[in-house]
Every structure is written in structure tokens, then in C-alpha cells.
């Protein structure tokens, strides 16, 4: 965010990749893509390639973290070393740990954890290729994978970012926009109640710009939700009677 550049990110309402201010990048979502996981999902979002897997509910290990009132949810956001141009050192870094924490908290709002005391539900997300907006793509995939695993949830969680580039508030920042733009606001909501379960902001915005970005990202989430629904329904093709 905020790196200096001569690139004009937006001109006459058109962005570098030809999108308008309110356009998402192309997104495809596929549910049930892994053999061994209890639930899984693959998301392509612009140049992002993201794979999510869910295991559980299963016996809670180590035992001392178990709760007699609810299942323990874990979330691991992990970037593959080759997912970015300069090789990323394998394993969790500070950024991944923070993203994992807030994403877990977002999902805790929807998963009916109290149904499975003393167990754990594990969510793993691998970023195979990163192209800005990975945390939103990851959370979107994770929530489809949880549903695919048959885990009871209040709703899905749907994520999308908005930001500011070249003085304008736009939806779903691409990589150059993320590097050279002025602000980024990733958001996740429950599609039915529009409750906000994840929100981060960095960059520079006036309060009015922030409100506009928040509203725009919520609109984006609503569009992403339709794709999540479609992916789950397509998991089971219509039978021939």
C-alpha cells in the first residue's frame, strides 16, 4: 500500500485491467475438490489460486485446549513459497498468523461450535498463487469448504475488499492497485444479516471515503455469495430419473 509510482491506476473510470470502479475480477469457485478432506473448495479470483480444506469435527488434540462447551476452531492461512514472485520462506510468518487469527474469529460467528463439545474443527487454506486479496479469497473458500464438510453453520461467510486508487474508491484491488493504491479495506460479512465479521483497513481515507469503501465491499460480498451458492449446488449434479 502506498508505494510510490508513476503508474496511472485509473483513467476515465477504467482501471489497468479494464475494469470499472465497481467491478470484481473474474471469480470461479468449485466445491469438493479434495479426496481426503471432509470438505474442500478451490477458488480462482483474478490471479489468486486458493485451496481450502476442512477436517473434523474430530477428537481435540492437544487435549488441554478442548472446551466442554464447544468445538475448537483452528484456521491456518499459508502461502506457498512459489505463490509470490520472490520466494516466500515456508511456514507461518507474522502476517499469516494475524490473517489466520482474524479469519478464525470471522468463522466463529457462523459455525455452530456448541454442537460439538470437546472436539476440534480444522480449516487449512493454501495460497498457491497470490494476486492481492488473498485473505478474502481464502475466507470465501474456507466457508464453502466448511459447508461442504456438512458442518452446521448459521450462514456462509463471504469476503471482498474495496480500496482507494488514484483518488477513487474501487472494488477488489488487483496487485498493482494494492501496491501503489492509497487504501485497502478487506471485509467479510454474513450474507443474510450483513453483519460484519472481518474488517481491516490500512492506508489513508477520510471517514466519508471509508464509509463508501465499506459499502462497496459489502456489495462485492453479495456478488461473491451468489458464486459460493452456485458452487455448492453444482457439487451434486442433477440425477436422471
Amino acid at each position: 500500500m502506498g508505494m510510490k509510482s508513476d503508474i496511472e491506476l485509473i483513467k476515465d473510470g477504467k482501471r489497468l485491467d479494464g475494469r470499472g470502479v465497481n467491478d470484481l475480477r473474474p471469480i470461479t469457485i468449485k466445491a469438493g475438490v479434495l479426496e481426503r478432506a471432509d470438505g474442500s473448495c478451490y477458488v480462482e479470483w483474478g490471479g489468486n489460486k486458493v485451496l481450502a480444506a476442512v477436517y473434523g469435527p474430530q477428537e481435540c488434540l492437544p487435549k488441554h485446549i478442548a472446551s466442554p462447551h464447544r468445538a475448537v476452531l483452528t484456521y491456518r492461512y499459508n502461502m506457498a513459497p512459489f505463490s509470490v514472485e520472490d520466494r516466500k520462506r515456508p511456514g507461518p510468518d507474522r502476517r499469516s498468523i494475524e490473517i489466520s487469527k482474524i479469519s478464525k474469529e470471522a468463522l466463529e460467528r457462523v459455525v455452530l461450535l456448541e454442537k460439538f463439545p470437546n472436539t476440534m474443527i480444522k480449516v487449512f487454506v493454501e495460497i498457491l498463487q497470490a494476486d492481492a486479496g488473498t485473505r478474502c479469497a481464502a475466507l470465501t473458500a474456507a466457508s464453502v469448504a466448511l459447508a461442504d464438510a456438512g458442518i452446521p453453520m448459521r450462514d456462509l461467510v463471504t469476503a471482498c475488499a474495496a480500496g482507494k486508487i488514484g483518488g477513487e474508491i474501487v472494488l477488489d484491488l488487483g496487485k498493482k492497485e494494492d501496491n501503489f493504491g492509497e487504501a485497502d479495506v478487506p471485509v467479510a460479512i454474513l450474507p443474510h444479516t450483513k453483519e460484519i465479521v472481518l474488517m481491516q483497513m490500512d492506508g489513508q481515507l477520510t471517514p466519508e471515503e471509508y464509509r463508501k469503501a465499506l459499502d462497496l465491499s459489502i456489495d462485492g460480498c453479495t456478488k461473491v455469495y451468489e458464486l459460493q451458492k452456485k458452487a455448492l449446488r453444482e457439487r451434486y449434479v442433477e440425477g436422471v430419473d
Binding site: 469438493g32 471432509d38 470438505g39 473434523g56 469435527p57 474430530q58 477428537e59 466442554p68 457462523v110 455452530l112 454442537k115 460439538f116 463439545p117 470437546n118 472436539t119 459447508a147 461442504d148 464438510a149 456438512g150 458442518i151 452446521p152 453453520m153 448459521r154 450462514d155 456462509l156 454474513l190 450474507p191 443474510h192 459460493q228 451458492k229 455448492l232 449446488r233 453444482e234 457439487r235 451434486y236 449434479v237 442433477e238 440425477g239 436422471v240 430419473d241
Partner: protein, 215 residues
């Protein structure tokens, strides 16, 4: 034809006299689904049968378990669930680690301590595991599907509600039974399944094409 599939959070009904059943929850004036599954409405109750998911023990269920720990007062039994079963015994040497048993769940407390009883040893056959939520389809109404499977394959088939099935028969018969069970597992969310299973067992269709396959 396929039965209606819903995802978590989707509205199922806003009628006042409809009651929320399994896999649903009430949200102010509407009933919503809490699982990804197939909608069923029985009388005034609406429920959603999940398409996948782990086995959660219920008192009265028959399950197939594997002894994992033997203690002085009983053994711990893996029942293909996040929760472990306990089978009380009189002597320490009644069962050995690895014994395969058909058991009845006689008690489940609020933190899911599961007590088992009625053990029956299973041996000399093949153990297969299916998605536990598919078991009711494999058994069928009043065991109708299971009867078809048994008659059509000449196998002895023991079904655990926890997704484990034990099949005894000649190698060819066992193979045929397993294929028929996998067919039901894949197509459990579709209608007309009984006829397709019959046709398969009679050799009229091969292992089913893409009819309602999980993609």
C-alpha cells in the same frame, strides 16, 4: 429428479405453523437451514439431511467399532466419530486391541461420553466405510434397501449407523455388494434410487453413469 438442495443460512419457510427440525434453526420469523443438504418436510416439521458429515453418537444406534484401548473395567472403542465409545467389561481379557464389534449405544451424556453394550464380534468379512449420513438411504425404509442388497448379493451385511458396513460372502459377492453400496452413497440425494440399485444388482446397468454423482 433431484430433491431440493439448500445451503447454510438459506430460508426454508416463513409459515407460522412449521416447526424447525434437524439441520435447521429459527431466525426471528423464518426457519433457515444450518447445513448443506436435502430438504425434507414431514408433517409440519421441516428438516435438512446433510450431504456429508461426521457421525455424532445417539443413544439406541447400532455402530461398528474397533477396540483401541483395553482397561481393567472396559475398553475404549473407536466408533468413527469425534467421540470415543466405552464398552464396560467384567474381565480385562474379554477383548483385544483391534477387535471389530457391532455394538449398541446405550448412553450419551451431555459432553458426549458414549457408553456401549451388546457387543457382537465381526470376523471373516470386509469392512467398508461410507459417509455416515448416507446410511439411512443404504438401509432404506423398514430396511427395504438393505433387503434388496442382501438378496441381490447373497451376502451377510451388518450396517453401523456410524458409516461402517461389514460384508460377508464370497469375494465376488462382496465386490458386488460394495459396488451397490457405493452407488447408493453417491446417489443418495436423488430419487428413483431403489430401481437403479435393483437394475444394477440384476446386471441391467453397470456401475451407474453420472446419475447424480458427486462431481
Amino acid at each position: 429428479m433431484m430433491r431440493e438442495i439448500v445451503i447454510p443460512g438459506e430460508e426454508l419457510s416463513n409459515e407460522k405453523d412449521v416447526k424447525p427440525g434437524f439441520g435447521t434453526y429459527r431466525d426471528a420469523d423464518v426457519i433457515r437451514s444450518s447445513v448443506f443438504g436435502v430438504v425434507e418436510k414431514i408433517n409440519n416439521t421441516i428438516r435438512v439431511v446433510p450431504l456429508r458429515g461426521k457421525y455424532i453418537p445417539i443413544t439406541g444406534d447400532y455402530v461398528i467399532g474397533i477396540v483401541t484401548v483395553v482397561k481393567f473395567r472396559g475398553c475404549f472403542v473407536d466408533i468413527n466419530s469425534p467421540y470415543i465409545g466405552f464398552l464396560p467389561t467384567m474381565r480385562e481379557d474379554e477383548y483385544r486391541i483391534g477387535d471389530l464389534l457391532l455394538l449398541k449405544i446405550v448412553d450419551v451424556d451431555e459432553v458426549y461420553n458414549v457408553t456401549l453394550n451388546d457387543p457382537k464380534r465381526l470376523y471373516d468379512g470386509k469392512l467398508i466405510e461410507v459417509i455416515p449420513v448416507k446410511i439411512p438411504r443404504i438401509v432404506g425404509k423398514r430396511a427395504s434397501m438393505l433387503d434388496i442388497l442382501r438378496k441381490g448379493t447373497n451376502c451377510k451385511i451388518f450396517v453401523g449407523r456410524n458409516g461402517r458396513i461389514f460384508i460377508k460372502g464370497t469375494p465376488d459377492e462382496v465386490k458386488k455388494a460394495e459396488k451397490a453400496i457405493r452407488l447408493i452413497e453417491r446417489e443418495a440425494h436423488t430419487t428413483g434410487l431403489t430401481d437403479r440399485v435393483k437394475a444394477f444388482l440384476e446386471g441391467k446397468i453397470k456401475e451407474s453413469g453420472n446419475n447424480g454423482n458427486e462431481k
